[in-house]
Amino acid sequence: MSALRTWPRDVALVAALALAELRHRRSLTVVTVLTVGFLGLYGWGVFEVIDSVNARARDAASGGGGLPVDETARGVGFILLGIAVFATFSLASVLAVFTTMSTVKGEAELGLLQSMLVRPIARSALVTGRVVAATLACFAYCAVVISIASLLTKSAGGTPPGNLVAVVLGLTAALAIVAAFGVLLSTVFGTAATGMAATMLVSIGFFASLVRQIGEATDSPSVESKADVVTHVLGFNALYEGALGALTSGVGGLAGFALQMGPFGSQGTLDSGLWLLAAVELVALIGLATWRLRRIDL
C-alpha cells in the first residue's frame, strides 16, 4: 500500500490514540473543573448584570431619558458574551497546549514515543495527527462552552449572536495553530519548557491586541501596524480577533460601539485572506515540526 494512500489512515489513527490518551489525563479534569467554574460564574454574572442594567434602564426610561431597555440589554449581553469568547479561547488554549506540549521530546524522554516511531507511520502523519487531535478536542470544547454561554445570555435577556458557527470555527482554527506551535516547540524543548513557551506565545498575542487598541486610542499608525504584524505572524491571534469580529458582525448602535472598546482585544474579520493565511501558517508549522522530527536523534 502506498504511503500516500495510507497517510490519512495513519493521521486518523494517531489522532484517535492521542484523543484516547487525552481522555485519561488529569489535565482534562483540570480544564473541565475550571470550565464548570467559569460557566457557573458566567451564568450568575450575566443574570445579575442584565437584571441590574435593565432595572436602571427602565428607571431612566420612566424619567424620559436613557437608552431603550432592549438596546441596553442587547449591548450588555454582547459584551458579556465577548468576555465568554475571551475566556473560552484562554481555557481552550490551555487544552491545546497541554495536549501537544509533550508530543516529541517529552514523550521520548518517557519512552512513549519510540515504540510508535518504529512502526511504519510517517513522521508527518504523527505530527499532523497530534495537531488534529488537539484541534478536535478544542472544537468540541469551544462549541459546547460558547453554546452554553450563549444560552445563558439569552435566558438572562440578552440577544445571542446570529453567527455562533463562525465564532466557533474561528476559535477552533486559532487553537489549531496554537496546537501546531505546541508540537513544533516540543521538537525543541522538553514538556515544561514547551508548555511555558506556548502559553507565553498566546499571551504575546493578547498583548499585541491590547497594544493595537492603545495605538488606535492614541492615533499611532506605527504602533498599530507593528501590533498588526505580530497578530498576523501569530496567526492564532488574528483568528481570535476574527472570531470576536464574527460575534458582533452587524451589531451597531451602543452595542457595536461598546464592543469596539471592549476589554478583550481588538476585532478583526474572518475573511478569505485570513483563512488562507491561517492555512498556510498551519501547513508551515506542521512542515517545520515534521522536518525537526526527522532530524533529531531519539
Partner: protein, 307 residues
C-alpha cells in the same frame, strides 16, 4: 522482491552526535558492520556507552547515521518498508497506564498494519505468559509483567527482525528462562533477533552469534563457544587439585592414563570451558574499554562437567 540473504545488513555504520567533536569525544559508533541471517539470534554486547544503543537505534530508524548504510529485509532502515518488518522493545519503555494488555496490542496492530486480529493478540499474550492478563491495565502490572507485554508488543505483525534491548532486566530467573524459550520459538519460526544485553550468561545460552562492541567499534564476533574458547582440564588427585589449562578435550584421556601410570590416585576429572564473560572481559580490556566494562553478570564464573 526475492528472498534476501540477510535480514539485517549494516555496513560501516558511523555516528557522531552533535557537539561530540567540539567536546573532544570520538564517534559514538565508528564504522560497525554486522549482518543477521533469517532465524538467527545475535547477541550484542558491550560496556555502557560502547555504542550498542546507538547501533540499535540506527537500525530502528530512531537515530540517523553520520555515514554508512543499513538495510532491513532489503529496505533502507528507517523507511516505511523497513519499519513494517521490525519489532522493537526499548530498554527504557513506558506504555499508557490506562491501556489494557489487549488494548495496547490492538493499538500496535493498527500502527503496524497487522491483520492478525484477536487471534494474534491472544497468541502473543500466551507466548509471553500473559494469557490471563489480557484485561489487566498496564498501570496495575508489575515491572516484569510490563516487560513481558513489551516483548509481546515487539512481536506484533510477525516482524522479520526483533530488536530487544535488555528484555529481561526486570524479570526473575523463571521469567528469564521463559523469555529464552520465546526467543528459541522465534528462531524456529524463522524470525531473527538482535539481543542487546549486559546479562552475558543469558546471551550465551540463547545466541547463535555474539558481537562485542567497545568504544564504538566491533571488536569481536562469533559463536559464543568460539569466543569463549577452551579452558583445559582440572584433575582431583590424591596429592591435590591440578589444573592443566593447555589441554584440549581430546588430550584428556591420555593425560588420565599418564597420571594413572605414574601412580596418582584420580578422584575426578573436569573439562574446563572458558565463558563468554571471560572472553568479553578479555576483548574489552584489550581494546581499552575495561574501565567502563562492568557487565551485570549474575551467572556462573565457569562451567564444566565431569569428564
Amino acid at each position: 522482491m526475492g528472498r534476501v540473504e540477510h535480514v539485517l545488513e549494516a555496513q560501516e555504520l558511523r555516528k557522531r552526535y552533535g557537539g561530540a567533536q567540539r567536546k573532544g569525544r570520538g564517534d559514538a559508533l565508528g564504522g560497525v558492520s554486522l549482518s543477521i541471517a533469517p532465524g538467527e539470534i545475535v547477541g550484542l554486547l558491550g560496556p555502557n556507552g560502547a555504542g550498542k544503543s546507538t547501533f540499535a537505534k540506527i537500525v530502528c530508524g530512531l537515530v540517523r547515521p553520520t555515514s554508512g548504510r543499513a538495510t532491513l529485509a532489503g529496505h533502507p532502515v528507517g523507511t516505511r518498508a523497513a519499519q513494517a518488518r521490525l519489532g522493537y522493545l526499548a530498554e527504557l519503555f513506558r506504555y499508557p497506564p490506562w491501556a489494557t494488555a489487549d488494548g495496547l496490542l490492538r493499538n500496535h496492530q493498527r500502527l503496524a498494519g497487522s491483520p492478525g486480529g484477536v487471534a494474534e493478540r491472544r497468541e502473543l499474550l500466551e507466548l509471553v505468559g500473559l494469557g490471563d492478563a489480557a484485561a489487566v491495565k498496564v498501570g496495575a502490572m508489575s515491572k516484569g509483567m510490563q516487560q513481558r507485554l513489551g516483548l509481546a508488543q515487539s512481536l506484533v505483525g510477525r516482524p522479520a527482525l526483533v530488536l530487544l534491548d535488555e528484555p529481561t532486566s526486570a524479570l526473575d530467573p523463571v521469567g528469564r528462562a521463559h523469555v529464552r524459550e520465546v526467543l528459541r520459538e522465534l528462531r524456529r519460526r524463522g524470525q531473527s533477533v538482535l539481543l542487546s544485553s549486559h546479562l552475558l550468561p543469558e546471551v550465551e545460552q540463547v545466541a547463535d552469534r555474539v558481537a562485542i562492541i567497545a568504544r564504538g567499534r566491533l571488536i569481536a564476533e562469533g559463536q559464543p563457544s568460539e569466543l569463549a574458547g577452551r579452558g583445559g582440564a582440572e584433575f582431583e588427585l590424591g596429592s591435590g587439585t591440578v589444573r592443566r589449562p593447555e589441554l584440549t578435550r581430546d588430550a584428556i584421556p591420555a593425560e588420565v592414563a599418564r597420571l594413572a601410570a605414574a601412580g596418582e590416585q584420580i578422584y575426578g576429572v573436569r573439562e574446563l570451558r572458558g565463558t563468554l564473560e571471560e572472553a568479553y572481559l578479555r576483548a574489552v580490556d584489550e581494546h581499552g574499554g575495561a574501565a567502563a566494562a562492568a557487565p551485570g553478570t549474575d551467572g556462573r564464573a565457569a562451567s564444566g562437567g565431569r569428564a
